[in-house]
């Protein structure tokens, strides 16, 4: 009952006033002093959980190059960042520069909280990533990183089962056959793991030759043969070649733990996990995800925007550009094994390929050849994602048939679109 003595109120005592004296600096956004120096604020989640020092390196380099600008960084955990960001936007206290995900871009842009960014040197960015943050030809945010989802595999388990390693030419059928051979329930070894979620589903629909939304984006299009194949593909793994939630004990990251414990042969996960998994005694590598009738990979990207209410838009944009495209950022990100910088400079990225385990880092870039972009629908984005994930989870638990799950998800998604 930790919330029992809850918000009430009271008398402002001397001690409370004394505490106010040692408060932090001005809350909202920028402040400028008389000598022309400006301080801008940057609110982020991308550095939380291990990359804080790497972000500091980038900030230091920026401040050295721009002595009249100081960047004040606030770092929040991913799980809480968006609650804080929305409260800030509602209160008009958003940082001058703030992080966002691609999935949230459309809602932010249409709400008018992002300042248009003019005069960005587009040549520094991968064009496809830069374009993702344009609306009606205007740039509203700058990509700060990207990752793709690939197929991780445990070499020792493949060797032991006498199965040949996955290649970029694998299809679902190959993956399924291998997963069945690799699963060894008595030893607690599972053949495959792929989250049963919206993000896996929309991609699987594309791999099966379908599309999650109709061409005009106004209707759900996944309740067809391709969608059914995709749902079946995900749901069918659960409990056969892949542990159910209860069999995995159910922490959010149990798939990672299963893989690093050497009990998982194949794992669909993102390139952001390379550093987390690191060197393992069993040896592991990655391959481009298998497709069905066609290849389709998921591309994730984060971005930064400049607040439309910022008092120092020019300085803020300078920082946003530096953070996303400077050579310092590119080298810091590559050296740290942080998510990849969105740079167009292929030669800089080349060093990434030789950074050690996994050996086949080329798969990260090969995945970009056939990307299925996640549908982005604005305000109802999160609700749509939750609905699809929940219905598929119900099918995996056997409480709905695949067809029922798709029917219900289609109805609800159409309601959200309409």
């Amino acid at each position: 009952m930790s919330r029992a003595p809850r918000v009430a109120a009271a008398l402002v005592t001397a001690s409370a006033l004394a505490l106010a004296g040692c408060s932090g600096s001005a809350s909202s956004g920028a402040s400028s002093s008389s000598d022309g120096k400006v301080t801008i604020t940057y609110s982020n989640f991308i550095s939380n959980g291990g990359n804080e020092a790497n972000l500091t390196k980038i900030v230091d380099a920026f401040e050295a190059a721009n002595p009249d600008i100081t960047v004040k960084v606030t770092t929040l955990p991913y799980a809480d960042y968006f609650t804080a960001l929305q409260t800030d936007l509602a209160g008009g206290t958003a940082a001058d520069v703030f992080d966002m995900e691609y999935a949230g871009y459309a809602a932010l842009q249409s709400s008018g909280v992002l300042a248009p960014l003019d005069g960005v040197d587009g040549a520094a960015y991968k064009p496809s990533l830069l374009d993702a943050y344009q609306t009606d030809g205007t740039q509203y945010a700058l990509p700060s990183s990207f990752s793709t989802v690939v197929l991780f595999y445990n070499k020792a388990l493949f060797d032991a089962a006498g199965v040949s390693y996955p290649t970029s030419s694998w299809t679902w059928a190959d993956e399924k056959a291998a997963a069945e051979k690799l699963t060894n329930a008595s030893a607690g070894v599972w053949g495959d793991y792929q989250p049963i979620s919206y993000y896996e589903f929309y991609k699987a629909v594309a791999q099966a030759g379908g599309s999650f939304l109709s061409k005009d984006g106004k209707k759900a299009a996944f309740n067809d043969a391709a969608g059914k194949a995709a749902a079946q593909w995900l749901v069918g793994k659960s409990g056969t070649v892949m542990p159910t939630t209860e069999q995995g004990a159910g922490t959010a990251d149990f798939d990672k733990n299963l893989f690093t414990a050497g009990k998982l042969a194949m794992w669909h996960s993102g390139s952001w996990m390379f550093g987390v998994v690191g060197q393992q005694p069993f040896g592991w590598d990655v391959a481009v995800e298998p497709g069905d009738t066609t290849k389709a990979s998921a591309l994730f990207s984060n971005a930064v925007g400049v607040s439309a209410t910022s008092a120092h838009k020019e300085a803020a944009q300078k920082w946003a550009q530096f953070l996303t495209s400077s050579p310092t950022t590119v080298s810091v990100r590559l050296d740290a094994g942080w998510e990849l910088p969105p740079t167009s400079d292929e030669s800089a990225l080349a060093s990434y390929l030789t950074k050690g385990t996994p050996a086949n880092r080329q798969a990260v870039f090969d995945s970009l050849d056939a990307v299925a972009l996640a549908p982005s629908i604005g305000d109802n984005q999160t609700k749509m994602q939750d609905v699809v994930s929940e219905k598929l989870t119900e099918a995996a638990a056997g409480r709905l048939t695949v067809q029922q799950a798709l029917d219900q998800a289609e109805t609800e998604v159409n309601a959200l679109l309409g």
């Binding site: 919330r3 009430a8 109120a9 001005a26 955990p77 004990a249």
Partner: protein, 273 residues
């Protein structure tokens, strides 16, 4: 309390001890997990860690500015406790000891403030704090919680059991309400005040959502915010997180044990009975 016969006392003790074991077990598992390094959390932990490691604790102190956040949290919690005891006991005295028309209505109006979820007040309260320039200040964290209806209610219930004859005697001696409050009633409700102090400290020490939105500067952040930042987007070092929650429990446990002594002394010390 009448003493139990010996066999009954033994039986009761055994039942209580078994219950305590069951109560303690989940906490013990968090301790075990905090000492279990690295992976292996995909299965349930052992009763005793096979290979205990302090790495989780070392990593905790490396990843968080621990001294700083503990100091921030402690300062806020102590201030909250002191202020809440003052404001709550004054109000509780009125509700328990002074008859006036509309007392029940006013008291209900107080209780009403506990019935709206904090989650929905977050945005309006934040906007208000912003207009007063209190975003990213300790005062902004403290203000919404300087008094507590929970405390007022708890102390009111305690004060209403203090025999009326005592105030009447004091009134005849010429004492005003302030003296009756301070010299007669407050000493008699010390167990309740000590109990409230524990809960008041706890709620401030654990509070998360409001500090999350109102505090920006790293140097102002509190312990729960620091612990939350240990939960990663893609993976979490559970040993570090569990170490953090074990460490954050200790001050509250110490406070409870100290307060418990006060609860007993509160009675013994009055010389009333």
């Amino acid at each position: 309390m009448p003493r139990l016969s010996r066999p009954r006392a033994v039986l009761l003790w055994v039942v209580l001890a078994l219950g305590a074991l069951a109560m303690f077990f989940p906490f013990w598992w968090t301790v075990v997990t905090s000492l279990t390094s690295g992976a292996g959390l995909s299965s349930t932990p052992a009763i005793v860690p096979a290979d205990p490691s302090w790495a989780g604790y070392a990593e905790l102190f490396r990843r968080t500015p621990f001294a700083r956040v503990v100091l921030n949290s402690a300062g806020l919690a102590v201030t909250t406790v002191v202020v809440q005891i003052v404001t709550s006991s004054l109000a509780a005295y009125v509700f328990a000891r002074i008859e006036f028309p509309g007392r029940q209505v006013v008291f209900t109006a107080y209780l009403v403030t506990m019935m709206i979820p904090m989650q929905v007040l977050l945005v309006p309260l934040f906007v208000q704090m912003k207009t007063w320039g209190l975003v990213d200040t300790y005062l902004g964290v403290l203000l919404p919680g300087v008094a507590s209806v929970f405390g007022i209610f708890l102390l009111r219930q305690a004060m209403s059991t203090v025999p009326r004859e005592l105030d009447e005697a004091a009134t005849i001696d010429g004492a005003g309400h302030l003296r009756i409050f301070g010299m007669v009633v407050m000493p008699l409700v010390r167990p309740a005040v000590a109990t409230f102090a524990v809960f008041s400290f706890m709620s401030s020490w654990n509070s998360f959502l409001w500090p999350l939105v109102i505090l920006r500067s790293a140097e102002l952040k509190t312990l729960p915010l620091a612990l939350a930042s240990l939960v990663g987007q893609y993976s979490t070092r559970w040993d570090v997180l569990m170490a953090g929650s074990v460490v954050s429990v200790l001050p509250m446990l110490a406070l409870y044990l100290v307060a418990q002594r006060h609860i007993i002394q509160g009675i013994a010390g009055t010389g009333l009975k």
